[in-house]
């Protein structure tokens, strides 16, 4: 345990200690370093975490300037000096803790919830290859950690931009045969100022996503959908086959 790393933390209190020497073992993460500092060096340090296995998306921070989940970032390979800072574009609560309103105001705008079609009363039958699920599958498992928003180069220039996560969710629902609200959702994501047109396809969101999702892909699909609908109009979705449950489920 002789090896140590210097961790430099961007603190909200300018007078607070910023540099810490942290011993490092082979399997420890940035989150472990934060716990060590808070437990034993400076109890006033604030950071956020919950599940510690990359499922909840609470511990996103900037590690050496890049968006990372603290719990899934091994400390040792980062080198002798590690700089930690809160996510960009999120209002700071304290130290590394940010307010997620920056994320949710955008997320909410796309109506991110299923509005079920009346015709879909039972779970849809979606065999592989039917196209009912493949597109959606690629965009599921977003943990709304906000890393993509912080990494998005457009958000800095155009603060109204809905951002990668919200657009990814929007596409999931637009591609979902169960959903009835694609018209209103497309109207939001097609907005000139906030919507998909603003994306520069830098793919910084793809680069940082801890779940390996590609919001750029969702955005590209939304653009094509908007273009296609502008020229060819809208085709009604056929009602898919549905799975009847064995026992009285409803």
């Amino acid at each position: 345990m002789a090896k140590t790393v210097t961790v430099v933390i961007d603190r909200s209190d300018a007078g607070a200690q910023r540099r810490f020497e942290v011993p490092v073992g082979r399997r420890e993460t940035v989150l472990d370093a934060l716990f060590y500092i808070q437990n034993d060096l400076d109890p006033t340090l604030s950071f956020r975490c919950a599940c510690r296995v990359g499922m909840c998306g609470s511990c996103g921070i900037l590690v050496n300037g890049g968006e990372r989940l603290a719990c899934r970032t091994a400390l040792e390979p980062l080198g002798p000096v590690v700089e930690l800072a809160p996510l960009r574009y999120f209002p700071r609560v304290k130290d590394l803790v940010v307010d997620f309103s920056a994320f949710y105001s955008r997320y909410r705008a796309v109506a991110p919830y299923l509005k079920p079609r009346p015709a879909v009363v039972d779970p849809v039958v979606a065999p592989p290859g039917s196209g009912l699920r493949e597109e959606i599958d690629l965009g599921l498992e977003c943990i709304s950690c906000g890393l993509c928003l912080s990494a998005c180069d457009v958000v800095g220039q155009v603060p109204e931009f809905l951002g990668p996560a919200a657009l990814n969710r929007a596409y999931n629902l637009v591609a979902d045969v169960r959903d009835a609200a694609d018209a209103e959702r497309l109207e939001v994501v097609g907005d000139r100022r906030r919507g998909v047109w603003q994306c520069h396809s830098h793919m910084s969101c793809v680069e940082v996503c801890p779940k390996g999702l590609a919001p750029t892909r969702a955005i590209a699909h939304l653009r094509r959908k908007l273009v296609a609908q502008a020229f060819f109009g809208r085709r009604p979705r056929p009602v898919p086959s549905q799975q009847r449950f064995a026992e009285g489920a409803r």
Partner: protein, 118 residues
């Protein structure tokens, strides 16, 4: 707030810079043509052509072509991204675009060579 510098944003920033430079060149091109052509006629046109097709200018031409090529190849890559290509394989897209650009630039240099040895 510090802005993020990533591979993607560098590539894009350069895309915009090349775009602006090319737009600037467009006006230079038009100005040259109109100032030489309209008032002065074929003799001067050919005299100017003599000058601007000497090797130092050809090097400039090659540079201009490189800018144009960067803008074109990267632009094409972005269009392909909009069609769903090279998103999960961004690195392949970037490397591929770079390779295509270099090959075309080499062809252009080869095509300009006769002007040099003329």
């Amino acid at each position: 707030m510090r802005h993020r510098v990533t591979v993607g944003s560098r590539v894009f920033t350069f895309h915009r810079i090349t775009g602006l430079l090319i737009l600037g060149y467009l006006y230079l091109h038009l100005a040259l043509l109109s100032s030489v052509l309209l008032p002065q006629g074929p003799r001067d046109f050919n005299a100017v052509a003599q000058v601007v097709e000497r090797p130092p200018f050809l090097a400039g031409d090659l540079l201009l072509f490189a800018l144009l090529l960067y803008h074109a190849v990267n632009g094409l890559r972005l269009v392909l991204v909009d069609l769903g290509w090279f998103i999960r394989r961004r690195t392949i897209g970037l490397i591929g675009a770079g390779a295509v650009g270099l090959v075309v630039l080499g062809l252009m240099a080869g095509a300009l060579w006769p002007f040099v040895v003329r």
